[in-house]
Amino acid sequence: MLPSGRRLDRATALFVSLLAVGFLVATFDVRASGESATGILRSGVQTLAEPVQRGIDFVVRPAVGFIDGISNVAGLRDQNERLVAEVGRLEQRLRETAALERRVRELEAINDLAPPEDLAAITARIYSSGASTFDEVRFIDKGSSHGIVEGQAVMDESGLVGRVDLVTPSSARVRLITDPIVSVGVRLQDTNQTGAVTGRGDDLLRLDMFDASEPVREGVVVLTDGSLFPPGIVVGFVNETKAADVGFALRTTVEPAAEFSTLDFVKVVIGWSPLDVDPATGDPLVDAPSFTDPGSVRE
């Protein structure tokens, strides 16, 4: 079945044509920011694929859980010892941060940044991940018919997970905060200094502070500042103590509070909209930094 020279030439021409189409589509999609025809196409395909994906997930999840359970029996004793030590360490941290929390509450009251006590949220289950190892997205089994719109914050029991960036009637895509094109406005719990956390594509986040008058200490809690996400959601913990390098600029890393490798159920906060984001679409209004715009990360 060796292709003849003529057929190979046709194949080469087709290859070049398809590459050109791929580039054109990519350019169009980036320029349209996922809106218009490409957004409709994504939603349509996601709607079609969702029942099959859910079905496969329904079958595979228990099997994987069973195998995981068996393989983990031997390690349960070690895990228990580690957890006991972890509880002791966390209790110590709680005692140490009690005074700081009081101070933060006072500052929140002054700055009107206190997290809303009763944010309306719905629980959703993750049924699918991205299609490649480079994708930092998850798909959840709730959509616009449950009150979800683009831009809403997604959390797990530990902290911020990401932001809804594509919605169909019965499902939604969540872009994780570990994605390098995602940036979150944050403040530090101890000093209330503000900055931006950006994904790196791995298990750490990058914290940039532009007016750091005090050093940042390891272990300090990093919270959302209320610009694009509800204020007061735990984003993570400072991973490395750092002082400002040049002027007041500072860069360090943050360990996310959410455990992305074991995400199962998440909460979508549907009862809060930032002032600078259109509540209907989740799109930032004029002059607001775009969540998915790499340019929103000020260097």
Binding site: A11, R61, V64, A131, S132, F134, P180, G201
Partner: protein, 167 residues
């Protein structure tokens, strides 16, 4: 070449995309997932004529784009490149398991790298990620492990008239 074979090949890449987004959400050896879509395209490129292969590869990549988070067209282009290179090398006089596995490793690496380059050009910040090398190499190694089962499934489904390297 019948249209039936092309539709079967399309079904295989659709199935690969669905398995990739569900099964390999849970099963992630070393924290990475294999690139099943790329592996399926390599398998199909060994069995179909050039034009249908390129068409199936582009369509499969486009579907992977639609089910993922990157701009549309990037995986479509990467899949097409891998299919084209596979078509170029499939009839070389090299055979045997080692050559096949090396080919799968190299072609998967090529596809992943092509996507990384294109993704970076289109603002996805892929190449400068920490652990980027692992994202390239580990899926290629996992694809080597899955190569023969996937090749077998593809051959049984498409049933070509003849066997090419290591079929």
């Amino acid at each position: 070449m019948t249209n039936v074979k092309i539709f079967i090949a399309l079904g295989l890449v659709v199935g690969a995309a669905l398995i990739q987004t569900t099964v390999f959400q849970h099963v992630r050896p070393f924290g990475y997932a294999p690139a099943l879509g790329l592996l399926t395209v390599i398998a199909i490129a060994r069995l179909l004529d050039p034009e249908p292969t390129l068409f199936v590869a582009f369509t499969g990549g486009f579907l992977q784009d639609l089910l993922g988070g990157a701009p549309l067209g990037l995986w479509a282009s990467a899949f097409t490149v891998v299919a084209f290179v596979t078509l170029k090398v499939r009839d070389r006089e090299v055979a045997g398991p080692i050559a096949v596995l090396a080919g799968v490793f190299g072609l998967t690496l090529l596809g992943q790298f092509t996507f990384a380059i294109l993704g970076t050009l289109f603002g996805q910040s892929i190449i400068n990620r920490p652990g980027f090398f692992g994202h390239l190499v580990v899926p290629a190694i996992l694809n080597m492990l899955l190569a023969y089962p996937v090749f077998w499934v593809a051959r049984m489904a498409v049933r070509p008239g003849e066997r090419t390297w290591a079929a």
